[in-house]
């Protein structure tokens, strides 16, 4: 093979709370020889997602296999085929997959998806929107949230990659859109750049009163990325027949313990709510249609998307941690290489 060694981040120490300098170790490993149906892939971009932290937990319930101690850390990535033992892919092809935090990986061809960067879009932006964040926002908002024109939609963690897209899509659907974020600067960005009708700093002591004022007609669709107290405040203001899209519950991902559930849970009856969670990986069949819509919105500049790119594989742990310290705005990616 062209390359016989790879640099790879291993998961070596389970964090009690946030990830830290002991959590991962950068190792060298020999790449195995390709078996029939396998690909040697150069990882170009790795997506950093809040959900990655969950894969390091010992929770009994996880929506997918966790990363085992000692194994290479995983992430969603954009890669380029370097060598192929599969008739499905040729060297040079771009692919997306669940890959490793590594410069090179050996992957099964059946576990990767071909990726075509739409003409007119920057590769990192195309990957950042089309691979996970955009379909997550789209499926959650439209297929579960089912917003109707004139309804009020609240998006939490609205300055994150998924939240910012979900909020803009809700505006495209004709809704009044309120976002929550953790700094006044992020809130200003949501209103001034993304066109949100209001944005609230959840750290303000009178957040709930502000939320009530920002939603004078109540909340019809709650697009939830956070959970905890923020979700409870929003549940209090839901309208009858409201839809609560559980896209993420980041407020609990840094703990191995269960958090209390929402004290306003009884509003499921009082307000006749539908609360529905989802994992975008389950919805592969919808991806072509969703990506086609996302691409045309991007090309028409109806969706804005900010990238937050860390350069170099060595930056991966710090890049993931940005999401948990609120230092991200926009989509956090780690760039490992340009396509060859």
């Amino acid at each position: 093979m062209t390359t016989s060694n790879a640099s790879v981040w291993r998961f070596v120490d389970r964090p009690e709370t946030t990830i830290n300098e002991q959590t991962f170790r950068l190792d060298q490993q020999a790449l195995p020889a390709l078996e029939e149906g396998q690909l040697l892939v150069r990882n170009l971009l790795i997506s950093m997602d809040a959900t990655n932290r969950l894969w390091l937990s010992e929770r009994e319930e996880l929506y997918m296999e966790p990363v085992k101690l000692g194994d290479s850390m995983k992430g969603f990535g954009l890669g380029q085929v370097v060598e192929s033992s599969s008739r499905m892919f040729q060297p040079g092809d771009l692919i997306t997959s669940l890959t490793e935090w590594s410069d090179f990986s050996v992957l099964d061809a059946t576990a990767v998806q071909p990726f075509t960067c739409p003409a007119g879009l920057e590769l990192a932006k195309a990957f950042g929107v089309l691979s996970i964040a955009g379909p997550t926002a789209y499926h959650g908002l439209f297929n579960i949230g089912q917003p109707r024109p004139g309804e009020t939609v609240v998006v939490t963690a609205a300055s994150g990659a998924v939240g910012a897209l979900a909020g803009q899509m809700a505006k495209l659907a004709g809704c009044r859109v309120i976002g929550t974020a953790g700094t006044d600067d992020k809130c200003a960005w949501l209103i001034n750049e993304l066109g949100f009708d209001a944005a609230l700093n959840y750290k303000n002591h009178d957040f709930e009163a502000e939320l009530a004022r920002a939603c004078p007609d109540g909340i019809d669709v709650q697009f939830e990325n956070v959970g905890g107290d923020i979700l409870d405040h929003c549940l209090r203001h839901m309208n009858n027949n409201g839809r609560v899209v559980i896209c993420g519950l980041i407020s609990m991902y840094n703990s191995n313990e269960n958090s209390p559930g929402p004290t306003m849970f009884h509003n499921t009856i009082m307000k006749r709510l539908k609360i529905e969670g989802f994992v975008i990986l389950d919805h592969a069949a919808e991806m072509p249609a969703i990506c086609s819509q996302l691409t045309s919105w991007l090309l028409d500049e109806k969706l804005k998307f900010k990238l937050n790119i860390s350069e170099g594989l060595d930056q991966a742990p710090a890049a993931l941690q940005k999401i948990y310290t609120g230092m991200n705005d926009g989509k956090v990616l780690v760039k490992i290489a340009d396509p060859h």
Copy 2:
């Protein structure tokens, strides 16, 4: 008018926890003269429902107007028109409505529904099944729970009127059905008389282990009447894409405080759950079709239904309390009069 006075239970003292001897007072009141469009109704049967307790609370969120201190207590009832100032109804007609705990009531004709007892059915059973309990079980199970043959359905408070019907309907739908109840006798009844596959006494110390054993393939549909710890145990065992029907949360109705939400709430994502609450009063348009199906199941003896009838208006508070002390099995009704 034929009758100028009525006996009526007034709500006079807000209970902190369970209702007690101070909560209601039996009064005499003069009946108002009928205005255009009104009916004088003899109340025949009053349905006692867990939800009645909620109407006495000071909760900010209630799915309908609460009963105000000093007002007559409300309940769903079967009545007979004595006098009519409406062209829609004649003396002698049977009607159902939200009525008073009273022997006679003056009701707006627009707020009552005509009731026809299907041939071959006892009046009390027809009212008990067709007015609230049956449609509640049917809508919750089929329209929200969407059980498929071979799936596992868990029904809590399964020996109550709604639970017993929901469980039998799930059997008719070809599901494995597990009920929970508060005594071994009730559990035996669920299995031996109603055909449940298993029934568990939630007071047993190893309830969760029993639940896991009774649901070796996990839970696909949770028909929830209780909430609290029982719901949490069940959420732990939900399968991917499970449906949680929030029909009732009786474990919290005796408190004016909010209870903690389910600690397994994160399973909405991990297991991709849909959790949906409903209030049957919203679904009047579905009633004719649902009642037609319920009637044919009753006539074919595919649904069994136990009545628990207290005789006399004076028994109403004690009858409601039966539901909260687990002394009910079957549908609790208060019989005030026979039709004339």
